[in-house]
């Protein structure tokens, strides 16, 4: 469908000092998939999106949509943005305030040179698009009278009217309030699945990305650091960055005595004692291997309390703080290492435990949830 290879774009400030951008991104989209570029601000995700749209000219790389080269620095191809046949929803929605709802949605059908539509066709297509996003009743409203959510829908309808091959969504939900955002993302996903359009979604919100995407490319400092399905990204992070960026996590470093095969479980010597870890990829014996455990994968009980079903890793510590969050409880535990020093562990559990700050506690977690940060 869409393939991006070797995409390189560096901004250079006016005085000549190099700035951020994207430094060699490769990925390919499958037909009908919702693909997300996720990362903190300045990671290059928006630059990548804008390069695909044609709003930025990369310095190197190749972008192909279907069988058509949109950009190829070596062949000197650069299809102008108005010819790329790509729909886009902007962060600010970019609803033209001087046009009505109808005029906004009809614009792509009127200005494009490839297809000429009769006004009846335009009216029909616009109506379809607006109905699809639930704005059919607002068709003749001035666009300035729409609420934020409605503007968002109009932006979507406008991007759809031309039935583009590819839909780009640049943080489309970031300007909505929390409740509406959750509602809209479900709707968005449904719409995408119903229309079958291939879409690239840019966001810095990891929960949004996990909820909506078929696949996620996590970016950092201009590079894609991990690419995979949401579950894979969450459960099998391959770097400290991804582990920290997607959800909250506990990180421990340790030494591996003998090499571990890919997909095997091996014991890691850590300051907190030996831990059984899962190795997604093969690793040679070395020190300083990082492992992560998600807070919700850890069980907590008062030291000496009866043992229920437990993981094979176990740590002792002292409860430092407890925060009640309604659906879950968050505990901060000082785990004791051999030298008596501590390491803070975060634990999240739906069950309130009969413990209080200062109590001695035992943490346990399964070895398959203790992931060594090794690429598969």
């Amino acid at each position: 469908m869409l393939s991006v290879s070797g995409l390189f774009k560096q901004y250079i400030s006016y005085d000549g000092t190099p700035g951020g951008g994207v430094f060699g991104a490769d990925f390919a989209l499958k037909e009908g998939e919702l693909f997300t570029l996720l990362g903190p601000s300045g990671c290059g995700k928006t630059t990548t999106l804008r390069a695909i749209a044609g709003l930025e000219t990369p310095q190197k790389g190749r972008i192909t949509l279907g069988s058509r080269d949109l950009f190829d620095s070596q062949a000197g191809i650069n299809v102008p943005m108005y010819d790329r046949d790509i729909g886009m929803v902007f962060q600010s929605y970019a609803i033209w305030p001087h046009m009505t709802v109808f005029e906004n949605a009809a614009y792509p059908l009127q200005v494009g040179r490839k297809n000429k539509y009769s006004s009846a066709e335009v009216a029909r297509k616009v109506k379809e698009a607006l109905d699809m996003v639930g704005l059919g009743a607002f068709i003749h409203r001035p666009s300035t009278q729409l609420s934020g959510g409605q503007q968002q829908r109009l932006a979507l309808a406008r991007a759809f009217t031309r039935e583009p091959h590819l839909l780009l969504l640049d943080e489309p939900l970031s300007n909505l309030d929390a409740q509406l955002r959750e509602h809209m993302r479900t709707e968005l996903k449904q719409l995408q699945k119903n229309t079958g359009v291939t879409a690239i979604y840019v966001t810095h919100d990891q929960s949004e990305a996990l909820a909506i995407s078929d696949r996620i490319a996590v970016m950092n400092e201009g590079k894609i650091v991990q690419l995979g399905a949401p579950k894979e990204i969450y459960n099998r992070p391959t770097s400290e960055f991804v582990a920290h960026f997607i959800g909250r996590t506990n990180l421990i470093h340790g030494d591996l005595a003998s090499s571990a095969a890919a997909g095997s479980t091996a014991t890691l010597a850590t300051p907190l004692g030996p831990l059984r870890c899962f190795f997604p990829g093969a690793a040679q014996a070395r020190s300083g291997i990082a492992v992560v455990v998600r807070p919700e994968h850890i069980r907590i009980r008062k030291a000496g309390a009866p043992v229920e079903a437990e993981g094979d890793n176990r740590l002792n510590g002292k409860l430092k703080a407890e925060t009640y969050l309604g659906e879950i409880v968050e505990y901060v535990v000082d785990a004791q290492d051999a030298s008596g020093g501590g390491k803070e562990f975060l634990v999240r559990t739906p069950f309130v435990q009969p413990i209080g700050p200062g109590d001695a506690v035992t943490l346990s977690f399964a070895s398959e949830r203790t992931i060594a940060l090794i690429e598969a």
Binding site: Y11, S13, Q59, D85, A94, W96, P108, V111, R113
Partner: protein, 581 residues
């Protein structure tokens, strides 16, 4: 001034800027640059040439010489002019600022009654030609004027006490003339300060005066400083007041000396005018550099907070009637008296000061003369054409340039630079430069209305640029990108998205440039001929020819017309919530 692009994109070689690409331009930008160069290069070259050659009796260049520059240092008049110009500029900037700060604070930050009318009045006063304004103050402050008569009555003196044809006269008149503009610029500075700073001060126990001094004024200081330099520059290069007030009192400044070198010596001393012009330009350039630095600093200092920010006003309690009284007093001084005396003079058979007797002699003869005069009618017609043509050429052109520059089209930064370059030409210097261009044209062009329009267009390019840039910056970039991704080409995007969105800014631009170009004398006085007389120059000539009462009738007629124009301006600006700068 416009902002420089922070990021430059379009380089094929990463990490390093290729010089060729940096100077590479797109075809449209190239055409626009060429157009600007056609208008900017000849006057600049002729101005430099004028200062470096002796001129023959018939006006052609003769011999190359540095004499005129050397004379700058040996001629005591140059130094004297420089000192006068500096004192005058500092003085009038101080007067304008004092009046401006006072009004801006009262209007923006207090609950004084009547305060909103100050905007309307300030904008209306923009439509009064400077010549008329100056003349009206000469009538008020002159030895035969009401103020001197009153003082003589009070002190029992037999001779007038005040001589307006002096430095203080120039300073007061110019200062008052600039006050409305200063107010308009300052009100936005005051508006951009968060009221919570002042509220915090009041909560700490400070009174209104202390808060004003320690908080309001301190916060506005960088903005005020930048404005001070701006007014200083404008006063330094102003012509009307020094010509009408200073020259009779033997107080000469650089601009009047330039004018005199050309208009009052036979044959014209073009060389001296050229060298003086170059010196004046150099000073203005230095001042502008300083101004740019300061205003950039001022922007950093500005404390605009985020969304929904609206400064609240201070409750002055019963003191608000005092400030209202102050506003009324300022209104009387700045508008009431000058307009009043001009209206009064327009009904007199001949002007001889304000006496009881003269009220019995009221006549409409001056108005009859004005309305029957073919030259007045053509003068009005020419002026309206001049203003409309200047504004209609400048605004669309600068809108296109500003858009290209704001969207960082390749090479568009050159457009930005070129279009703001005329700022370094003081109006009278631009007159000298264009006079020489038109005199050397191979066909008859000098003295035509078109020639005056062209010079005026170049003069007001920077003002147009400023408005257009502000308008373009208000258009979110994504609005255009959405259009491009909808399949629209650049021209379609510009016409269907950008133009409709910047239309309010363009209308403001149009009216502002219109008002400025019909108000000024200095840029046009050396260029107009009998076929291209314009109101401001006609008023100037009438004053020099002593036809005060006809001047007054003409002035009143013109002011009425311009009041209509500027009221429309005000209403549009308010309708679209545009800032008037």
């Amino acid at each position: 001034m416009t902002t420089r692009p922070e990021v430059w994109d379009g380089s094929a070689a990463p990490m390093r800027m290729s010089v060729a690409r940096r100077f590479g331009v797109s075809p449209l930008v190239g055409i626009l640059i060429a157009v600007l160069l056609v208008f900017l290069v000849p006057p600049t070259i002729y101005l430099v040439q004028t200062s470096l050659f002796t001129t023959n009796f018939d006006g052609s260049f003769d011999q190359f010489t540095f004499r005129f520059y050397l004379e700058l240092f040996t001629n005591p008049r140059f130094f004297n002019n420089l000192v006068n110009a500096s004192i005058y500029a500092v003085g009038s900037a101080a007067v304008a600022l004092t009046l401006g700060v006072l009004q801006a604070w009262i209007v923006e930050r207090t609950n004084t009654p009547l305060r909103h009318y100050v905007f309307l009045i300030s904008i209306v006063s923009l439509g009064i030609p400077s010549v008329l304004y100056t003349v009206s103050f000469l009538l008020i402050l002159g030895k035969a004027g009401p103020l001197n008569l009153l003082l003589m009555e009070l002190t029992g003196s037999t001779t007038p006490l005040l001589n307006v044809y002096s430095m203080w006269g120039m300073v007061i008149i110019e200062g008052i003339d600039f006050a409305p503009l200063t107010f308009l610029l300052l009100s936005s500075v005051f508006r951009s300060n968060d009221a919570s700073f002042e509220e915090a001060s009041m909560m700490s126990g400070a009174g209104i005066a202390q808060t004003f001094r320690h908080i309001t004024l301190r916060l506005a200081t960088p903005g005020i400083m930048a404005l001070l330099i701006l007014i200083f520059i404008r006063a330094f290069e102003s012509f009307e007041t020094p010509a009408l007030v200073g020259r009779p009192g033997n107080v000469n400044v650089l601009t009047t000396e330039i004018y005199q070198s050309i208009q009052s010596t036979t044959p014209p001393n073009y060389g001296q005018a050229g060298a003086f012009s170059m010196a004046l330009m150099l000073i203005v350039i230095l001042l502008l550099v300083w101004y740019n630095r300061l205003s950039r600093h001022a922007e950093k200092y500005q404390t605009i907070t985020g969304k929904g920010f609206r400064p609240r006003v201070m409750d002055l309690g019963k003191w608000r009637f005092l400030t209202a009284g102050l506003l009324v007093l300022l209104f009387i001084i700045m508008i009431g008296l000058p307009v009043g005396i001009v209206v009064y003079a327009s009904f007199l058979p001949y002007y001889e000061g304000v006496t009881a007797k003269s009220f019995t002699q009221f006549t409409l003869a001056n108005y009859a003369q004005v309305f029957n005069s073919q030259s007045f009618k053509s003068s009005i017609g020419n002026t309206l054409i001049l203003g409309a043509a200047t504004a209609s050429l400048v605004c669309p052109f600068t809108a296109l340039c500003a858009w290209l520059a704001a969207r960082r089209h390749r090479g568009a930064w050159i457009l930005d630079q070129l279009a703001t370059m005329p700022l370094i030409f003081p109006a009278i210097v631009m007159g000298v430069a264009f006079l020489n261009v038109f005199l050397h044209m191979p066909f008859a062009f000098y003295g035509s209305l078109l020639s005056v329009i062209l010079a005026s267009m170049v003069r007001y390019l920077p003002y147009g640029m400023r408005y257009s840039y502000a308008g373009v910056l208000q258009v979110h970039r994504e609005l255009e990108e959405a259009s491009a991704l909808s399949g629209a080409r650049q021209a379609t995007t510009f016409l269907r998205v950008v133009v409709p969105l910047i239309t309010p800014a363009l209308i403001t631009c149009w009216l502002f440039v219109f008002l400025l170009s019909v108000k000024a004398v200095a840029a046009q006085i050396l260029l107009v001929g009998p076929k291209s007389q314009v109101i401001a120059v006609t008023l100037f000539d009438l004053w020099e020819n002593g036809q005060v009462t006809e001047l007054a009738a003409m002035g009143v007629t013109w002011m009425s017309l311009m009041t209509v124009v500027s009221t429309i301006f005000y209403l549009i600006a308010r309708r679209y919530g545009l800032s008037i700068r």
